[in-house]
Symmetry: C2
Subunit: 284 residues, 2 copies
Amino acid sequence: MIILDGKATAQKVKSELKEIIAKRKEEDPSFNLSLTVILVGENPASQVYVNNKIKACAKVGITSGLVSLPATVSEQEIIDEIEKLNNDDSVDGILLQLPLPKGFNESKIINHISPLKDVDGLTYIQQGRLYGGKKQLAPCTPMGVMRILKEYNIELEGKNVVMIGRSILVGKPLFELFLDANATVTVCHSRTKNLKEITQKANIVTIAVGSPEMLTADMVADGAVVIDIGINRTENGLKGDVAFDEVSKKASYITPVPGGVGPMTIAMLLSNTLIAHDLRTKNG
Amino acid sequence: MIILDGKATAQKVKSELKEIIAKRKEEDPSFNLSLTVILVGENPASQVYVNNKIKACAKVGITSGLVSLPATVSEQEIIDEIEKLNNDDSVDGILLQLPLPKGFNESKIINHISPLKDVDGLTYIQQGRLYGGKKQLAPCTPMGVMRILKEYNIELEGKNVVMIGRSILVGKPLFELFLDANATVTVCHSRTKNLKEITQKANIVTIAVGSPEMLTADMVADGAVVIDIGINRTENGLKGDVAFDEVSKKASYITPVPGGVGPMTIAMLLSNTLIAHDLRTKNG
């Protein structure tokens, strides 16, 4: 059994990115890569995530900006800030930290972000592009899953992939990425009736449902690849959606929590910022 | 075994639509519903399809327009025509007949259609909306499949649906519609390795690959629902992707070819034209 080391893979992605950015600056002293995060309200978890993103930017040489708005802001004021950033040629990526405080229409606001600066890949246009086989900027967590699979040379073509979870942030874009890689993909969810029977047939199982240790050893085949995209705060500490101790005894490859998919998300956000820059300046 | 009668169901959809349109006109004499088709070049099959669409419009009381352009037209000229129709308040739906003659960038051109007039549901924005759970206008053939299943009260929630084919026109939007209906969905394609083993487990099988009579009786479970979205011209006449004679002996429900999914496509196009009108005039 091999543990898929997301921390090391994320570090590798960031190191490569740092090198690319340094080289670009060398070639063109005016080159600058910049990401602006919009944070609405004072959710402590969101503040931690935003800080981590800003720190990660600094480490690879991306300039970061933070637009911090009170929870009492109006929808239009958030949209106005987005429009300002859309029109600011020095900004490559715009990230609206989710979730917004209650009462905001998230998808309406997100769709004001210029698709070419949408580093989270959540605008309808970027989702539609992914869906239509014309990917530009795809959501960071699913991109991180694909990157870690690639790092360990795990073949996807013709494999049976069973996904549990169908969220817009993770499940649906991940489905597209697996399908693009020519896997046969099954999407399961809370209404699936014979889950265990389905997951037992999978070469690769992914789970992103937010239910601690839900995927147990009896649900996976010997030698399966298991990707845990859940992070749950429990009385016993951080737990994934996979019962790691027992499943790891059957799996050929498995991601731990923490240190698996988690660290990949920020690495792919940084990587998307470069993609966004190139899309806008080189017309993709 | 029950044959899913697409011809009768399409007729029902059209009759209902005709009634709604007549009632709307009664309530508001200025009410008019209009669809414009853009045809580029002289592909005889496309000409037949366009004629059928125009005739179907007339039957339910939709005003139709045809913009016929020579194959020698430039990309920009097509886009200019689209922009004109986008800005024409009397036009509710714009349909670009596909395929375009070789050499055109179809997706670039399609994405100039106003999403609110995109009755084929092929712009990135409409695809992204479908994908993100905010459907407005979805592609007609998959909508037709859902409509015929509804007509026969075939339950989808928790069912195992196996789809063969993953095109942008049919497979991918159909996947979304099945998932929205809480089915467990598996998408198979040419790189799938153990197809028969997978289809045998399905409560519902759909196929849209363009391979005459590919789905044989040994591939389906007793009592399965079989939806044939293929149309193939063969030496022995029109054939679907399903070997109808043998599969119909095992299926509980099955669509014939012709007379199954085919007639539903135009019915849903007409229905989408009304949806488009309402989206634009009532803000959805």
